[in-house]
Symmetry: C2
Subunit: 354 residues, 2 copies
Amino acid sequence: MNIEIDLTQNLKSKPNADQIAFGTIFTDHMFVMDYSTEKGWYDPRIVPYQPIALDPAAMIFHYGQTIFEGLKAYTTPDDRILLFRPEKNFRRLNLSADRMSIPAIDEQFALAGLQKLIEVEKEWVPKAVGNSLYIRPFIIGTEPNLSLAPSKTYQFIIILSPVGSYYKDGIQPIKIHVEYEYTRAVRGGTGFAKTAGNYAAAYKAQEKATTEGYSQVLWLDGIEKKYIEEVGSMNVFFKINGEVITPELNGSILEGITRMSIIELLKGWGITVIERRISLEELYNAANCGELEEAFGTGTAAVISPIGELNWGNRNIVINKSEIGSLSQKLYDTLTGIQTGKLEDLNGWTVEVK
Amino acid sequence: MNIEIDLTQNLKSKPNADQIAFGTIFTDHMFVMDYSTEKGWYDPRIVPYQPIALDPAAMIFHYGQTIFEGLKAYTTPDDRILLFRPEKNFRRLNLSADRMSIPAIDEQFALAGLQKLIEVEKEWVPKAVGNSLYIRPFIIGTEPNLSLAPSKTYQFIIILSPVGSYYKDGIQPIKIHVEYEYTRAVRGGTGFAKTAGNYAAAYKAQEKATTEGYSQVLWLDGIEKKYIEEVGSMNVFFKINGEVITPELNGSILEGITRMSIIELLKGWGITVIERRISLEELYNAANCGELEEAFGTGTAAVISPIGELNWGNRNIVINKSEIGSLSQKLYDTLTGIQTGKLEDLNGWTVEVK
């Protein structure tokens, strides 16, 4: 398929990414592709960034058939533009699509579309250290029909947003609140998919945590409320007695691409990484014997987010004196180094936008 | 607040509701009201039915902050227009709103807006027996922002759709497939809320059931996979040995307005109704001893949907020879009789649109 390009006549002024709030400023163009059951995916195009006009009965408004991805483009010191494992994002988009009964996209074509879009918008990729261009591919069901059935039409859209450094004042370990009342996801549900419903459903718990002075929620499994699943919208890792443990993928946990990369990095360094169930009780006991050495969340936004404190009910754990641990710091430096082209990409993870 | 009315110059032709598919034809106008954190809900208006234009970063597309309701308007034999317990729908809309961190609406004002809209569209309320005007109020988060936080702006919209009789060839008992793999909802999740994410998440299971020759899915609890929760998107009732049992509201079951009305009707008739946990095993045993007399789903669309057959794995139950039971029939006749003004409304459930 040929990608039609319709350039805008009115270029926006480019703000300093560090001075804007995350995800509020968008570039001049967007990538759009339509789907119908008769034609499949068709009419891929790059058009001026513009509102989407949908019938009020469009299924996205009623039954939640929508999925998304999030990744970043970085400027290297020698002025190249790099994407980090973008093929993994489009792979996961298709896994999410399958769960939400949304038709699959051609992953390679979607990546080609993204590359073309970034080429058009290359002036928007921030150059300042720590800044990047946030990329948001998403698919929505658009058929105007109130029947409970998968949509017969869809739009696949990619929008771009310049974003500032996540850590403007250096990495600050966060305080985490264990959530008992609300559940993020359960076996047989949609937890492993990046779909809208998972996110708004988490706001009540986040609100509670914020009110109580914590910056994120630690999610437990929906069945026994014993096992650790995620932190906020991040995967989570614990360094206990020299080994690194992260909850195993069980259908209710998102398979993070940062998670995947961290596991590969650690293994490459000869550090034991175990993907298995880990209970809050085990964590508490490890902390009590002084074996809980580091804890951190991982995700596209922060890359590594060290956990300084963990609270549930009357119990409180302070981890590594609420300072970033040396392994966390090394992982952060290595991963961001590879992403931004400052370190050699020995794993072949980056893809250059020409 | 005053409701501004902007009438269309191009009225659509009105189809025969019985000849159109559910939820595909909409009336000439819609009700719209906006929300911002500064102004609260403002600018209520009735405008020509038209597309909604949203920024591609609007939160509804990404994080699923949306809720809806479904109810119907009926024409009585003496040509009045009745709504059935509409205040309960707006009450539930606010319960859903709270779960999804959406600001509450003024329930009485929303009902007044709906009545005004139906007054404008009164020619669209079908007169043929069994037909009705389906009403879909919904709220969407509209702020263009990719941050994970509740939207600061919303739209509340009501659209109307003439719909045909659910049972064109008389009531047919349905065959139900018990779902083990997928989960609809779990304690601490969003199951009790009418929010988009719950619905698309159910398509995979429905697809499986359809493929295997069943018309709906029976959902079990997400924790033990033992207890009955809902059937498709309906509540469910079982008549066992003269008593009626329905799963108790536990946070993962939607509090249906038809469910509520059926419980009240049955109690009024002196029939024992018990809201409690009921396991599949108990149901199977009751069927084996010949004590499972009737089973039916309840909801706005079908009112009563008798269950003729229930299947899980190698087990199969045929209920009441796959015929509608006398209690199911009486409930259907009474409830539809009250809704359409053919029977006296002793409970004060109907609201006339003047």
